[in-house]
């Protein structure tokens, strides 16, 4: 029974997003849903699934969906303060300033909990599986995206690379 579900899952993933693996994958932008190569301003939405099979082990990450839209992003990004983070560094084919993008780590989060009295508290939410979506301006000069896991008191650890093809 378990084998059947695993096989079905892998089949769906493979059929939707062929080419993904645990540590590196290739995304052909022409395969991204609604991607318009004729449009100069494209926005990519990349949905990643992150899991940690064992406590303390390296996170496993995979691309589970990709959608594109037309337009230009304004420079507006929510700051991530909690020390557990996913950092994505765009690597360019040409010389360019690599500005890392920081995302909330889906497995190690602290969420704000509101109260009708007006007070707010924070609550840790640890999970072994989760997902996050990154939104970025498409740039044909980006060769790949390197993903790092940032944890307090530890050096950044590279956990995944997504090579971009167009």
């Amino acid at each position: 029974m378990q084998l059947k579900f695993s096989f079905l899952y892998l089949l769906i993933i493979a059929s939707l997003f062929g080419g993904c693996s645990k540590r590196a994958a290739v995304l052909d932008l022409n395969d991204v849903r609604m991607f318009n190569p004729e449009s100069a301003d494209q926005i990519l939405f990349l949905e990643f699934r992150v899991s940690q099979p064992e406590k303390g082990s390296l996170e496993q990450i995979s691309l589970v969906s990709s959608v594109s839209g037309t337009g230009k992003l304004k420079n507006l990004r929510r700051p991530v303060e909690y020390p557990y983070r996913i950092q994505v560094v765009p690597r360019y084919r040409t010389s360019a300033f690599e500005v890392p993008m920081i995302f909330e780590h889906p497995l190690f989060r602290e969420v704000e909990v509101p109260d009708p009295s007006g007070t707010i508290t924070r609550k840790k939410q640890f999970a072994s599986e989760g997902s996050f979506t990154m939104r970025m301006q498409a740039d044909p000069n980006i060769e790949k995206l390197d993903f790092y896991s940032l944890k307090p008191g530890q050096q950044p650890v590279k956990i995944y690379t997504l090579n971009l093809k167009q």
Binding site: V64, K74, R78, E81, V111
Partner: protein, 599 residues
């Protein structure tokens, strides 16, 4: 097995909405998406039949947001859209397992579009499936700037993150406003969330020096200070601008002025107030006849945009959205610059003020013959002012009646006079008369000294408009100013700037004295006694202090009625009407005041 199954469900849920398009409803549109801040509202737990209700709730949130300071000053800098997505079932899942679960809320599992649910361990933590939400946004409104998710239940709850999630409960709207504060202006929490959140932010700092702290310009506002987050540990090293009076600390508060400043600066960095220019400036513009140069401005309410027009670096107009230039106004070629500056009071940042200036330039060419002309930055000015005279239409050197030789001179005339420019190359001359206006003579009085509790009256004459400044951040406008229920701390220098009908200004000062009103006591050891009280036609005043004492009788407005100097004991006739009066007895440093009833 369980994990695999969860993963499969997750994947299936995502693939169901993958790239799915929905109608995008416009709730409030003030302008083009690329020059506005676009807020997209999503809804969970609304069935197909309930989608009109969702749009109504989304509209209500948009109105709440646009009425919230400082967004209310910049309503037309925002667009609001909603994306209705029908849920199979109405409402939200309630696992009912959290200790703080609402006893009157039914435990239920709902099939909703975004899988919204109350928390299983913290009940009011309402979450949705972010992956589904991002897929809807990607396919339907990829350029959104802010997103809010409304969950269809009246029970209170919500959560933070890149999508602000909250329910329809009346108190829940501020969850969205607080979360947008994080996302939009990078504001930090003003409640102590733990050392991991200590960072330099617009509303958080480790700096305690009042002259260097980033909100130093706001320290004169009541309630704004440099407050420690806690008394010990890391909390004591981080500081906030307000103490329990900001939305970033309590959801039942408004933004403090420091958070408003950061929010306002973010709005102004994202939206260009110059929406349109006429004519275009892509190429050189040939002025063959009087031509209008016009700015289409996106004005806040109230309008805080200030426009200044310069021709070749010399100011030619201000405060208007359009000007007209004739060929004869121009040299053969010139550069026209319009500078648009938002002088909003919501920000006091000197550094960011420079970034708020937007400049538009036109390269101009005139087909007029070279006629020598003089342009003055002002043709009339007040004594002490400067004016710049600029000659145009001369192909070479210009000499002036002031013995200067330059295209442009800056003068400070002390009386009305004419100035002549001579073009050496063409032997043309041109003259201009500059009118010098006298300054107003301002006189100011205060009718003091006053006793505490009385009404202070400050009067100024000599001009038509007056601006007052004084102790305790006192500001006022008008010729006559009253300060009711004066206290000793109102004492000090009050300055008034008077401006006459010609715009000339001068200042004057007055020293106001408000004296402490001491309580009347029955202690026989007191050094002064006044009797009878109530009195009818006289009072007797006795003191056990040697030396000269002064008795002063005042009415309740602080006006002195009688003064008498005496030693040890005196009587004072009361030629006054019945009522309550004030008396004051002074002896050296000692002072005693009280109320006197006259029958």
């Amino acid at each position: 097995m369980k994990r695999t199954f969860t993963t499969l469900l997750f994947t299936l849920l995502l693939s169901r909405v993958f790239g799915q398009t929905f109608p995008v409803d416009t709730l409030y549109k003030s302008g083009p998406v690329d020059n506005r801040i676009n807020v997209v509202i999503l809804g969970d737990g609304f069935t197909k039949e309930q989608l009109p209700k969702f749009n109504e709730e989304a509209r209500k949130f948009a109105e709440f947001f646009l009425d919230y300071a400082p967004y209310n000053k910049y309503r037309n800098y925002f667009n609001f859209f909603s994306i209705p997505t029908p849920s199979e079932e109405s409402g939200v899942t309630n696992p009912g397992t959290a200790p703080d679960a609402y006893p009157d809320q039914p435990v239920t599992q709902k099939k909703t579009f975004y899988g919204g649910t109350f928390g299983s361990s913290i009940h009011r933590l309402v979450t949705v499936n972010y992956g589904v939400a991002f897929n809807v946004l990607a396919a339907n409104f990829p350029t959104y700037d802010l997103t809010v998710m409304l969950v269809n239940t009246e029970f209170y709850g919500g959560s933070g993150g890149s999508i602000a999630v909250h329910t329809l409960n009346q108190s829940a709207n501020t969850i969205g406003a607080h979360e947008i504060g994080h996302t939009f202006a990078a504001l930090n929490d003003e409640y102590w969330a733990g050392p991991q959140y200590g960072r330099e932010a617009p509303n958080m700092t480790a700096v305690t020096d009042r002259s260097r702290v980033k909100w130093k310009n706001w320290l004169d506002i009541p309630g704004i200070g440099i407050y420690k987050h806690g008394e010990d540990g890391p909390a004591a090293t981080w500081h906030k601008p307000s103490n329990a009076t900001c939305l970033m600390e309590y959801l039942n508060q408004q933004f403090c002025v420091v958070c408003r400043e950061a929010t306002t600066e973010t709005i102004l960095s994202l939206v260009n107030p110059v929406e349109k220019i006429e004519p275009g400036n892509a190429s050189e513009y040939l002025v063959t006849e009087p031509a209008k140069f016009r700015l289409g401005l996106l004005k806040p309410a109230p309008n805080s945009l200030h426009v200044e027009w310069d021709l070749d670096g010399k100011k030619i107009a201000a405060g208007v959205d359009e000007i007209t230039l004739a060929p004869s106004d121009l040299p053969a070629t010139g550069k026209l610059t319009a500078s648009v500056f938002d002088s909003t009071h919501m920000s006091r940042s000197e550094e960011l003020a420079e970034q708020r200036v937007r400049k538009i330039e036109w390269n101009l060419k005139s087909n007029s013959p070279a006629i020598l002309k003089i342009n003055a930055s002002d043709d009339s000015l007040c004594v002490g002012g400067f004016v710049t005279l600029t000659a145009s239409g001369c192909p070479g050197e210009v000499s002036w009646s002031t013995d200067d030789t330059a295209n442009s001179i800056r003068i400070q005339p002390d009386k009305t006079a004419s100035y002549t420019a001579s073009c050496v190359a063409t032997d043309q001359k041109a003259s201009i008369t500059i009118t010098v206006l006298p300054l107003p003579v301002i006189e100011v009085t205060n009718n003091g000294p006053y006793l505490e509790g009385s009404t202070v009256v400050l009067n100024a004459t000599g001009a038509s408009n007056y601006t007052w400044k004084g102790p305790r951040e006192f500001t006022a406008t008008g010729a006559e100013i009253t300060i009711p229920l004066a206290i000793k701390e109102h004492s000090g220098k009050y300055s008034v700037k008077g401006t006459d009908v010609y715009g000339c200004s001068a200042s004057a000062e007055t020293e106001l004295l408000v004296e402490r009103l001491l309580a009347v006591g029955n202690d026989p050891e007191e050094w002064v006694r006044v009797s009878p009280n109530p009195a009818s036609d006289f009072i007797k005043v006795a003191t056990n202090i040697s030396g000269k004492s002064t008795l002063t009788l005042l009415d309740l407005s602080g006006k002195i009625i009688r003064t008498k100097t005496f030693t040890r004991e005196t009587e004072l006739k009361l030629p006054v009407q019945a009522g309550v009066y004030l008396y004051k007895v002074t002896n050296g440093e000692r002072e005693f005041s009280g109320k006197l009833a006259v029958q």
